[in-house]
């Protein structure tokens, strides 16, 4: 056990990155994640790092592409509308096979939307953040402590699999203060970056970081190779958490800050004698398909609880092969669901009040 500090989620994102050996941050101000850039603006010069405010989200993600291509740990952060602007760069980063970390502290959308917490970028993060056949790892912390853990893990995963890793948080988690222990991180073996554009020093052939393959056959081969890596990630890097799911009739599936509210509702349901449980995906891609499927025979139904209009529902249906009904309860636009609202839905799914 290390020292416990009381910190805001946004600040923990910055501190955990520094502790993961990341000395480069490129960003652009946007609510509700600005405290992260402000924290790094103060902290980075003191640790020999750099926090540079770019002229746009577009420029920031391309600075990330440059620094990542040069072989350095680097990250950027934004909130929903800003992440949309980064999507071009993210696709190039995937296509160029370079590692980096991208933080999305989500707010309500579409468009300029609002500035209150939301989870309405689930589709964008897990399905279509950028053009092309692609995936990248998406991790959704639910606690400030978990931000610290996952941020360190994100940099390792990015380096190991040579791809972006997104931390998908939300405005509530970013703004929330909780105790955090940065502690010791599990050590992973990080491959040497022999592909980096850092000057060949007349010691090797020139390196090229590129996403262009003009021959269809070659591009196909490159994409297929990348999908082999994706298959390995789906096998090895799934993260999830469970609470009272062993005997659950109603399995609530929820991630991020919403999972904490859902947990309160599950506890209240148990007090009423309803066999409810909580399944919390931590890695949204790779989605914990097998683990969820293993609950499908026993459970009567599944309930997706999110701060959006039901973006995870299809993933649950696919995971359980539509064996049981999947419902959704959510609030959107920046409205946070209450435990009572979720409890009422659990009760309804269980056949009403006894």
């Amino acid at each position: 056990m290390g020292e416990k500090l009381l910190m805001k989620g946004n600040e923990v994102l910055g501190e955990a990155a520094i502790r993961a050996g990341c000395k480069l941050f490129f960003g652009y101000p946007i609510t509700p994640q600005t405290e992260l850039a402000e924290y790094l603006a103060k902290k980075m010069p003191k640790v020999g790092g750099l926090c540079l405010q770019a002229e746009s989200e577009v420029a920031a993600i391309n600075m990330v592409l440059g620094a990542a291509s040069a072989g350095e740990r680097v990250f950027t952060s934004s909130s929903s509308p800003g992440v949309s602007l980064k999507s071009e760069g993210i696709s190039y980063i995937v296509g160029s096979d370079v590692p980096c970390v991208i933080v999305n502290v989500q707010r309500g959308g579409p468009g300029l939307g609002g500035i209150q917490p939301a989870q309405s970028d689930y589709y964008q993060a897990t399905k279509a953040l950028g053009h092309g056949d692609m995936h990248f790892i998406v991790l959704a912390p639910a606690y400030v402590q978990e931000i610290a853990t996952l941020m360190g893990e994100a940099f390792d995963l990015a380096d190991i699999y040579r791809m972006p890793v997104m931390i998908l948080a939300d405005g509530a988690l970013g703004q929330m203060m909780e105790p955090v222990d940065f502690g010791e991180k599990k050590q992973r073996e990080i491959p040497e970056k022999t592909w980096a554009c850092n000057g060949h020093k007349n010691q090797r052939a020139h390196n090229v970081v590129n996403s262009l393959y003009i021959s269809p056959e070659v591009l196909e081969e490159v994409v297929v190779e990348r999908f082999k890596r994706y298959a390995e990630i789906e096998e090895k890097e799934v993260l999830f958490d469970e609470y009272m799911t062993e005997d659950a009739d109603v399995v609530v599936v929820s991630y991020g800050i919403t999972a904490r509210i859902a947990k309160t509702a599950v506890k209240a349901a148990r007090e009423k004698g309803i066999k409810a449980g909580l399944f919390r995906p931590i890695s949204l891609w790779p989605f914990p398909k097998k683990e969820l499927a293993s609950l499908a025979d026993k459970a009567k139904c599944f309930l997706s609880v999110e701060m959006n209009m039901g973006q995870m529902v299809d993933d649950i249906k696919v995971a359980i092969d539509c064996k049981k009904p999947v419902s959704h309860y959510g609030r959107t636009g920046g409205v946070i669901p209450t435990p009572d609202e979720i409890l009422a839905k659990i009760v309804e799914l269980n056949g009403g009040e006894n």
Partner: protein, 251 residues
Amino acid sequence: MIVFDKPKALTDTPFHYCPGCTHGIVHRLVAEVIDEMGIEGNTVGVAPVGCSVFAYNYFNCDVIQAPHGRAPAVATGVKRAHPDDFVFTYQGDGDLAAIGTAETVHSAARGENITIIFINNAIYGMTGGQMAPTTLPGQVTTTSPYGRKPEIQGNPVRICEMLSTLEGTAFAQRVAVDSVKNVKAAKAAIRKAFEVQKNKQGFSIVEVLSTCPTNWGLSPLKAIEWLRENMIPYYPLGVYKDKTEEAKVNE
């Protein structure tokens, strides 16, 4: 005795450029400067989207291929990660002066210690001859088939003039590669830009007026004549900013 040889900083890959295109000359000049300064081993190039997208196949230094217009931001990331490496971008007019205007202007404003080689041929080459931000008034392109009308399609952008107003720009020169004399001047300007970077004096840009015989619909020789008669009067050659000279005057 060898009196003429291929620069070491160029690979053996044959250029894909059209006959008469001046990209080949400019590639060679950049490579000669890299050779003469002995910096190939610690240089990182950034290729654009456009005709010179394959620059990564031609230069022997490490090269990153950037999204359209974002080369100065990518170069910024590389330079901030490794300040002692030489970093240059090689960009055309659509890449630098249209879709990448913000990245260009702000990397100059920040005084990023990078060098930009800017190819201005007043047209989009790779996509087949569309109007560029630098297309001249009256110039016919596939998207200005009746000639560029400033009242409809706006006016061209003079990049060196614009960037020279920024404090962070240390060196800005416009050159052409239409004659032996001008090719020599172009090489001297590229060398100077890399020296400015070596001395960590800030942002440097060399704008090269170039020909596109294929999309201009002219023979290589006619294209050079067209450049002299039309482009040079609109885009005058010369040094627009030189902080190294200013510093000498102030000594």
